[in-house]
């Protein structure tokens, strides 16, 4: 697996650029991951989504359901796509340092 420099630290990422060790995540890493997604600046709206994902992940060990993410942040799915063009899973979760969900998803 590739080792890349994100926000000043060496981190292992998978084929799609998801970080492999969620414990290494910090704000600088998030900003660097955002760059890989073509997002230049993380606005307060971006952070609202990222922080919620992060908090849910730390408590439950997985990303929240998309509908729950929308309800809790107050953003519609369309607004989330506007913020994270690759969408909630491939965009927002990646920047928040969460692993990819697998299975019937």
């Amino acid at each position: 697996m590739a080792l890349v420099n994100l926000g000043g630290i060496e981190i292992e990422v998978d084929e799609d650029g998801f970080i492999q060790d969620p414990d290494k995540w910090n704000e600088a890493v998030a900003k660097a991951l955002a760059q890989t997604e073509g997002i230049e600046d993380l606005t307060p709206d971006h952070w609202k989504v990222i922080n919620y994902l992060r908090q849910y992940y730390l408590e439950f060990g997985i990303a929240p359901m998309i509908r729950k993410l929308c309800k809790e942040t107050g953003f519609s799915l369309k607004q989330i796509y506007d913020l994270f063009p690759s969408g909630p899973a491939k965009g927002a979760c990646k920047i928040a340092g969460l692993p990819k969900p697998t299975g019937c998803v």
Binding site: M1, E15, F60, I62, M65, R67, T102, G103, C104
Partner: protein, 538 residues
Amino acid sequence: MASVPKPDELAKIDHKPPKTGWMDTPVKFRRGTWLYAAKPKYLEAIGFPNPREWSPEDEDWKLPPNWKEIILEGLRERLGRFRSLQLFMDTCVRCGACADKCHFFIGSGDPKNMPVLRAELLRSVYRRDFTAAGKIMGKLVGARDLTVDVLKEWFYYFYQCTQCRRCSLFCPFGIDTAEITLLTRELLNLVGCNVDWVMGPVANCYRTGNHLGLEPHAYRDMVEFCVDEIENVTGIRVEPTFNRKGAEILFITPSGDVFADPGIYTMMGYLILFHEIGLDYTLSTYASEGGNFGSFTSHEMMKRLNAKMYAEAKRLGVKWILGGECGHMWRVIHQYMDTMNGPADFLEEPVSPITGTKFENAKSTKMVHICEFTADLIKHGKLKLDPRRNDHLKVTFHDSCNPSRAMGLLEEPRYIIKNVCNHFYEMPENTIREQTFCCGSGGGLNADENMEMRLRGGFPRANAVKYVHEKYGVNMLACICAIDRAVLPPLMEYWVPGVRVTGVHELVGNALVMEGEQERTTDLRGNPLLGMDDDKNA
């Protein structure tokens, strides 16, 4: 991740075979048409051989030095263990009846996606090493040596089969391609050539009881979110229980129904139904997966993952198991479970506590399909249904491959849909029921990096949906499989924009009139019911 060509480009499918013969045409790993290699941590978690970092794109696959002996010995062992394999290797006469029945051949034009030729990739090696004619005459009788290129070809093409078994339906000998695929994947496992999208869920399921790796508190949080959502729409708070000993029935559904859109609305449908009929049931945070990605990688893994359902049923002391809208789970239950982990003689023969119906067909496995259960409730007039609450939907039904071809569940879902919806339209007859076309992403192929191949494989299904979309204005594709619910939305968005995807029990949840409910103004997704917009404005 590879970019996906536009639909009009992808639809230009070239069915002309290459100029070189098939043995002399090496495989090309073109991005978008193959799956990532399994991460070592997953293989380590389940004790599978040769965990390492590698990629199918690499020249060197880091195989064990004696990989060839390992594979041939593995094949020898399986020929002895599975008479079916021996039979499938020997009986094919290459008549070609299967050739154009495969969705991957139709959608890709690649001759090695004809089921006959896919099987021939293995059969040629079988012939070389296990038949007298092949040993002596080699290529003359279609035999060839096992080389690294052959192994790469196996990996590529046996992960371009969804184990849907449409080809088997047309085979005059009944050769089961899904078994050939599974056994070839077993051989590949022996030298550590497996895909991340299958081994990840398998390792997760082995650890936590479900493919997603949901731990008990997460599973519970997600179900409780569904409970809140149901209350918003109906005004009624349903009260599912978890891991409750002494419940009459254990309900098991794919974890995708608990986590993923649009599966969660199907989950809400189940919960609404169970509440309304007062079912004495429990969910389990351990047997929290209906699906069995083990069945996409080896018989042994399928058995190991299937066992937890029955272990949990035994631990909780339930009478029988009710199974949700899952696809391949039913192939495992209906065709393997009984001789693999059965007979489940510690459970009772399933009887509906509401209607008294005995589910004779589930006498041995003790596991009833939710569609049989619900169809029986409707037949006995036990549900008050208002199909007008689905009037904003024009519905067609995609027979999920395994419930249809592996257990013959053809009428029940249709009977339910016709009772809960006023607008139902069938797709052309050679694309439904036993002849249903696969979603293109089953068998563990539903990873994003494989998107081009998924869209190609899903093309025949999408084409049939397009027909009813254009002819009748169909805007909702119903199905009874969680992989379907995950993969049909992007397939529709690509080939037939304007068609969304639902489980059958989401439609039930919309139509079911609950005692004491508030007036419904939206469906379970929060979309206004037909006429409700106008009412509000009035």
